[in-house]
Amino acid sequence: MSAIISTSTNTTTNIAWFFACNVIDVPPNGGVCVKYDDVQIALFRFARRDAWYATQNMCPHRQQMALSRGMTGTHNGEPKVACPFHKKTFSLEDGRCLSDDQECSLTTYPVRVENEKVYIGIMQEA
């Protein structure tokens, strides 16, 4: 079980933050897969703009655990990831599929970086 290091409160949900990895473990402008119990989360580091994003690791198109190995980039400034299997692209901001209107969206997770450590937030039921 990963350690929950802090909880913060907003209007309807609590976010439980868990430690994912050290900043140095994630290749700049790339992604890694983080294990959270049985959940696989893709964590992306946009070093050029110092931004972090996290989504489900499974590409909804063919249910493959692959997005963390996908190539990151932007489309008109919006951060995105392309699945290595069939190059479907998803927004890292809201998880929607950018290349196919019919495709399901990704679940996204908030990311926090403190003291060179990366934390991913999991929504808790209120």
């Binding site: 990895c21 473990d25 402008n29 790339g30 897969c33 983080v34 249910q63 493959q64 692209t89």
Partner: protein, 834 residues
């Protein structure tokens, strides 16, 4: 106003469509009488009824359409009498309707020659869906079918018989050749040859004298006393205008049929019009649908009292169609006489292509022509003829394309006048397309949306594209094939920038020449250019994350997220000891093994975490990366050659190994495959490769630009009878030139197809050093060869790099638990995905 239309075929329907568009809503009461039981359908594509389309699919519009547009439609109810004094019509079912305007669009019926026996069972005509239904019901017991008529309709009918499953189908033509009205003798010959290959039996010069048999036909008797046994006959020998009602009503008709009309399509009674195949204008029946539509337009415009009075002044009978899969087209005046014209003929009996154009004696204008087997150029040629465009200095270029000389193949589509119709389906002129581009619609999609050009059959798309780039160039806009939103450069420009500025990382490239964060398009392109230029370790300098996923993990991702591993087996030669190593590794890591098409062994189902361990064992045994994951040299396949083969001229295996080891790891715009054959029997299939080598008595023949895959293409001979050293120098030059100039993800075949000047130009560059860059190309290649290192060896030896081959960043060594395998023939396979 009340308009009555007699007949409900394609032209009648088109008239309805046009008149309701031209008149204000409810300005006219429209009544249509049709003889057939269903609303107007697409008779042009009648044969598709047998290819699976239903009668409903073929409808021009469903019955609801008529209701929705307030058109009264009486089906199965032909008009039997026109009373011109009272301006009324009387139908078969007893309906009487008055009219202000009467439009006769009764079309035509099949012309049945007066041959004894045509009333026998088994004899059909080919005209309506009912005819087709009768044919369909009769066909299952038929062994041999015959069609009388080798024209357009006859060949359509023959296709219908083939579609009905009657493989023994014969076509009988009275004239000495097929389609005598549209194409010339040589064209007919090629068409006949092609049709024969499809299984049709063609008999020309045959005058049918009798249909033999009792109640049911058993065959045909010809005037030359010969006999053809057959149990089904379709007569499709021409059309006969349906003018009997007009005749009965005292309207003038031609002595060979057809209702006489003037340029407004008025019959001798100015309130009665005739349009389509029943109308006789200037002594001619127009048996195509396009002129019928034009007639509908003229009458609708006249009745709607449009300001600009239109007139029918004849119609260009140019036509392009696909007959049983074979392009047939004729345009302009295909039979221009020899005194006033010259002709240029291209004939390829191998491919079944025949093209003939007639040009004026001074070589300036195109008069007309015939295209059989390949009619791609039809629209361009038609417009060139119609608009009297001045031909290029070598007029044959319009037929054959520019063939690498210094002359351009004429002004092309840009040389057409503004009123030239580019999209004939939607009647969009060159002028309106250019205007749309000038107004800012600078992409094909934008132009399509704005003008409707290219939205129907799409045949004009290449011309529209040329117009877009041409118009933009004319506006002084520099058209570049930029790679994506992050880099406003083409691949070739980026290649030069990266080389000259010594750019070594993607971030550098982005900082200096791009903007934003990059994407899955520009990242691999730049990664590939850097690899081609510097041959640095591709996972260094932060470049790992800009490699395509397979390059990033130096393996090929497969279903389920595991990888496949391909060690290099140069030339396909492997020792038993090494085979054993592969077997041991496969057993140890539970991998599925398969021999590839490139004479190597692929090991599937490796977990990401296992890849470095697998490679460590393979490298220990002397293997190295096979680069199956990269846009790089893959394999050099070989036949066994002169060391064993009794036909072998040279040692093809040794040469293949030498070449594979020279170019291993070479990164290029796309993958590169090669092969070496030891003799002309070509067992290594070298002519299907990006570059292929075949042994000759005197040395090696070098072929380039071949491809397998979905668009197979034979490689073209670049140079013959080379010694090994020269052969390798030419390959160095060829590959470097390709790497420098090709667009991303373009194989050598496509690159060569698009290269201005084609193989002649390439040969000049590579063999004759016309650009003076041969030495430079060789030096560059040599530096890449010298810098080669096995990527996997570098990974295996670097703990830092090894760490990246882990599925979970926070649980190294834990494999992806979702990976599942099934079993098949004693090996594993990836679990099927959803």
């Amino acid at each position: 106003m009340k308009i009555v239309i007699i007949g409900n075929g394609m032209v009648s329907y088109k008239f309805c469509e046009k008149i309701i568009a031209k008149l204000p809503a409810r300005a006219a009461e429209i009544v249509v009488f049709g003889e057939e039981p269903r609303p107007a359908y697409d008779r042009v594509h009648l044969s598709e009824f047998f290819a699976g389309k239903t009668a409903d699919d073929l409808l021009m519009a469903p019955a609801d359409w008529y209701v929705a547009n307030d058109i009264t439609l009486h089906l199965g109810d032909p008009v039997q009498q026109i009373d011109r004094n009272t301006k009324t019509v009387h139908s078969y079912k007893g309906i009487t309707e008055a009219y202000d305007y009467l439009v006769i669009a009764t079309g035509s019926s099949a012309f049945v020659p007066p041959i004894p026996g045509v009333d026998k069972k088994g004899v059909f005509i080919y005209r309506t869906i009912e005819d087709l239904e009768l044919m369909r019901d009769y066909a299952p017991k038929v062994k041999r079918g015959v069609v009388i008529g080798g024209g357009l309709l006859g060949l359509e009918a023959a296709k219908a018989l083939l579609d009905l499953g009657i493989s023994d189908t014969h076509v009988i033509e009275f004239a000495p050749r097929l389609m005598p009205r549209q194409i010339d003798e040589s064209g007919s010959r090629i068409l006949e040859q092609q049709l024969k290959q499809l299984g049709l039996q063609i008999h020309t010069n045959k005058n049918t004298s009798e249909v033999t048999g009792g109640d049911t036909m058993t065959g045909l008797q010809f005037a030359d006393e010969s006999i053809l046994e057959a149990d089904m006959l379709v007569i499709s020998a021409g059309i006969k205008p349906r003018d009997e009602l007009a005749k009965l009503s005292g309207l003038e008709t031609g002595h060979r049929g057809g209702i006489v009309v003037n340029e407004k399509l008025q019959t001798t009674d100015p309130e009665i019009f005739a349009i389509g195949e029943c109308a006789l204008y200037n002594g001619m029946i127009y048996g195509l649908v396009a002129p019928g539509y034009e007639m509908a337009e003229v009458v609708a415009s006249h009745i709607a009292s449009e300001a600009q009075e239109k007139a029918f002044t004849g119609f260009d009978m140019s036509t392009k169609l696909k007959l049983i899969g074979i392009d047939v087209a004729s345009f302009g005046d295909p039979f221009a006489p020899a005194e006033t014209s010259r002709s240029i003929v291209f004939e390829d009996t191998m491919k079944g292509v025949y093209k003939r154009i007639s040009i004026t004696n001074d070589g300036k204008h195109l008069l007309g022509g015939i295209l059989i087997g390949d009619a791609d150029a039809y629209n361009m040629l038609l417009q060139t003829a119609k608009n009297k465009v001045i031909l290029p200095p070598n007029p044959e270029d319009v037929l054959l394309g520019s063939r690498g000389g210094s002359q351009d193949a004429g002004p092309g589509v840009l040389g057409l006048p503004d009123d030239a119709i580019i999209c004939s389906c939607e009647s969009v002129s060159k002028g309106s397309i250019c205007a749309a581009v000038e107004a800012g619609n600078e992409t094909l999609d934008a132009v399509k949306k704005c003008t409707k050009a290219g939205t129907c059959c799409g045949g004009c798309t290449p011309m529209v594209k040329d117009l877009i780039t041409g118009t933009m160039k004319a506006q002084g806009k520099y058209i570049r094939n930029v790679i994506c939103e992050h880099f406003s450069y083409s691949r070739q420009e980026l290649y030069d920038l990266i080389r000259i500025k010594n750019v070594r990382s993607f971030d550098d490239a982005l900082d200096h020449y791009g903007h934003g964060d990059g994407c899955e398009i520009c990242k691999p392109v730049i990664a590939s250019i850097m690899a081609s230029l510097w041959n640095d370790m591709i996972l260094d300098k932060g470049n790992d994350v800009v490699q395509d996923s397979n390059d990033r993990f130096l393996a090929n991702i497969q279903k389920g997220g595991t990888y496949s591993v391909v060690p290099r087996i140069p030339g396909g030669e492997i020792t038993p000891a090494r085979l054993l190593v592969i077997a041991q590794v496969a057993l140890k890591y539970n991998l599925y093994t398969k021999i590839t098409g490139g004479q190597r062994i692929d090991l599937f189902g490796a977990h990401l975490d296992d890849l470095p361990n697998i490679w460590e064992e393979l490298i220990d045994a002397g293997f190295e990366s096979g680069h199956a994951y990269g846009k790089a040299l893959r394999t050099v396949k070989s036949c066994v050659g002169s060391t064993w083969c009794r036909f072998g001229l040279h040692d093809s295996v040794s040469f293949a190994i030498q070449i594979e080891e020279r170019y291993r790891g070479l990164r290029a715009p796309h993958k590169i495959k090669s092969a070496v054959s030891g003799c002309i029997r070509e067992c290594a299939e070298a002519q299907s490769k990006d570059f292929g080598i075949i042994a000759t008595e005197k040395g090696w023949n070098l072929y380039v630009g071949g491809n397998g895959g979905s668009k197979p293409q034979h490689a073209i001979l670049l140079a013959a009878d080379l010694d090994s050293e020269t052969c390798i120098r030419y390959i160095d030059r060829f590959l470097m030139f390709y790497i420098k100039t090709a667009d991303p993800l373009t194989r050598t075949a496509t690159w060569l197809n698009k290269l201005d000047g084609g193989i002649t130009y390439l040969r000049n560059v590579v063999v004759n050093d016309s650009l003076g860059i041969a030495a430079e190309l060789e030096t560059e290649m040599q530096s890449l060869v010298d810098k080669y290192k096995c990527e996997w060896k570098e990974v295996v030896e670097s703990p830092e790099l090894r760490k990246r081959f882990s599925h979970f960043v926070n649980a190294p060594g834990t494999k992806d638990p979702t990976v599942k395998f099934d079993t098949l023939r004693e090996q594993k396979k990836a679990a099927e995905w959803k």
